[in-house]
Symmetry: C2
Subunit: 359 residues, 2 copies
């Protein structure tokens, strides 16, 4: 049965150079260990759903799309176990959900796979889980390719794109996630692009992961510290800003990695377009504006340490807001898998949100 | 003779708790090694002008005011040498000037001490150099106290001040340099203040040096990464922004540590006042606006390394602009040792610059 899964991945790889964060091979879930990037490309080979849960918890796989897929493959491992029951698969799902309780995409994916399994048993049960997992992977890849296709229209030949944090293949299904799907599609259309990436303290996703992915794709990348984006825009060194998004409120306000708002302010002041690449699933119509978005405050020790070593005197306090709010009026366009939305956003987002519910 | 120098410093210390970056004691120039802060308070005891030159070059002492004073004390060491001649002191000055060729303050200080020494020899020569060095140290301290006095009027009781990089005592003569003189004076007036300091990549002056100084003064400090200032201002967590300045153009445009411009944009967007603390000597009337200020590009490896270890894949490029330009229209006030200038700045800066030339 997992021959079909093997064929699925070999087909994918033949068609295009994917940067897969997770796949299935020889009865094992394979995860590219993102904590060791960019210096080691180390893969974990996991044989039990418990090991998948541990890897998600340890951030060895990260990014909302990627951990949802890791969860899906974890359930597939559970389903492959001899004589597993729907009840056992449900329990595996509960275990996986607990690894990142706030990861909505992971929760939804687990629910989608484990719902209404009661009628199935034996091979039919395994087959049903396999069908659902493959459909989810394929759907996520299709999403990224469609998003890239629509987004590439805002990229010009020869453009230099300034990006922040990591919104790429390793956070998604392997094509390019969100922001980097747009760049990848532009390159596939024959456009030459360069990237300026901000390092993104404290976790350095830009320096470690975005720079690694772009290197894999052969896209030239220049690293800056987070405080240099204003200089870059003042000097006309970037044609466009492109970032991902954690959440889009009903009015178009955007929650994304802390620092995004500063980029958007500098973009407006220097008349450089600012785009976000997102999924219709991050549009949250129940949140009227950015003001109502609660910003997760993470462990402040991460700010006081750099690569594990303290950088400030012991008496120093710290805060670690994980994202900030970029007001809709600073956003030139919202790139989605259904097209690029232009301001004003409210009605278009409402339409897209409702259309998503019904499809 | 150096008894007088010893008395000078013991007087200073009796009067107030100074954070001296450099002083003279027992025939030696003592430098607090800033490369070891904040974890070690290690002092260098230097007996020869060559050693002072090495310490300046190695950034063990840094900040325009502090290296000028280190240069002054280096000349004093040269003057103390038995039978030194005006010619030898001049040579020592040339050696010191070469350590940081773009440090205008250092160059001017050396010139002030070494000019017209030809009439002197023996004890009279040493005494003349000593007079000049002590006058320069006292003048710099008086400057900081005056700057602080004027600046403190913009600080309210209970204010939280957001600052960037390091503009403090260890970059100056020991009271509080520029920005931190304002905070220190406010505290001495009985105002309670708190500080939010951005870490200031890549060199981490905010995390290492500003946080250390504020800790020494008992002022509570919260560290953020450079990308978090927008969040801080959106949430109303800071009442005021206060930074130093590298250069002020004739129209009020400000060159300061890269990232300052982003702070000023976020300040305007959130209606938070933005101040710079500066010296009338950084006003450059020959530069019409920020556009004409050449931004020094430093070694990009500093962006790609942290504590000597790479943070990005080998194929990654980098740039390291040392500062950016904050347009005058984003600046609520320019704090100087002659008072706080309010916009429009052009005429006031011209007056201050001319007044400086004639005093």
């Amino acid at each position: 049965m997992s021959q079909r899964v093997a064929n699925f991945f070999s087909d994918l790889r033949r068609r295009q150079q994917l940067l897969l964060p997770v796949w299935f091979e020889d009865g094992q879930v394979i995860i590219l260990d993102q904590t060791r990037l960019p210096f080691q490309e180390h893969h974990l080979a996991l044989r039990h759903v418990n090991e998948v849960a541990v890897a998600i918890k340890a951030m060895q796989i990260r990014g909302s799309g990627a951990i949802a897929l890791a969860g899906a493959w974890g359930l597939y491992l559970a389903a492959l176990t001899n004589q597993s029951t729907p009840e056992q698969i449900k329990e595996a799902g509960d275990l996986l959900k607990k690894t990142r309780p706030t990861a909505v995409n992971l929760q939804k994916t687990i629910d989608e796979i484990t719902r209404e399994l009661e009628p199935f048993q034996g091979e039919a049960l395994t087959r049903t889980v396999e069908d659902r997992v493959l459909a989810i992977v394929q759907r996520q890849l299709d999403f990224e390719i469609r998003l890239g296709h629509f987004g590439a229209q805002v990229i010009g030949d020869g453009d230099t794109i300034l990006t922040h944090c990591h919104s790429g293949a390793l956070a998604g299904a392997g094509y390019g996630g969100r922001a980097l799907s747009v760049l990848r599609a532009a390159v596939e259309q024959g456009k030459r692009v360069k990237v300026i990436a901000s390092e993104t303290r404290p976790y350095l996703q830009g320096a470690r992961i975005t720079a690694w992915e772009l290197g894999q794709l052969g896209i030239p990348v220049t690293l800056i510290t987070d405080n240099m984006s204003g200089f870059v825009l003042q000097r006309g060194m970037a044609d466009l800003i492109l970032v991902g998004s954690d959440r889009v409120a009903a009015n178009g306000d955007l929650a994304n990695k802390v620092g995004t708002y500063l980029l958007a302010l500098a973009a407006r002041d220097n008349v450089v377009p600012f785009y976000t690449a997102t999924s219709s699933h991050t549009i949250d119509l129940s949140t009227p504006s950015g003001k109502e978005i609660a910003v997760e405050m993470r462990d402040p020790r991460e700010v006081l340490l750099f690569n594990g070593a303290p950088i400030a005197p012991e008496s120093t306090g710290a805060i670690y807001p994980s994202f900030d709010i970029t007001p809709a009026e600073l956003i030139s366009g919202i790139i989605t898998e259904r097209g690029v939305l232009r301001p004003p956003y409210r009605e278009k987002l409402a339409w897209l949100g409702l259309e998503r519910e019904t499809r």
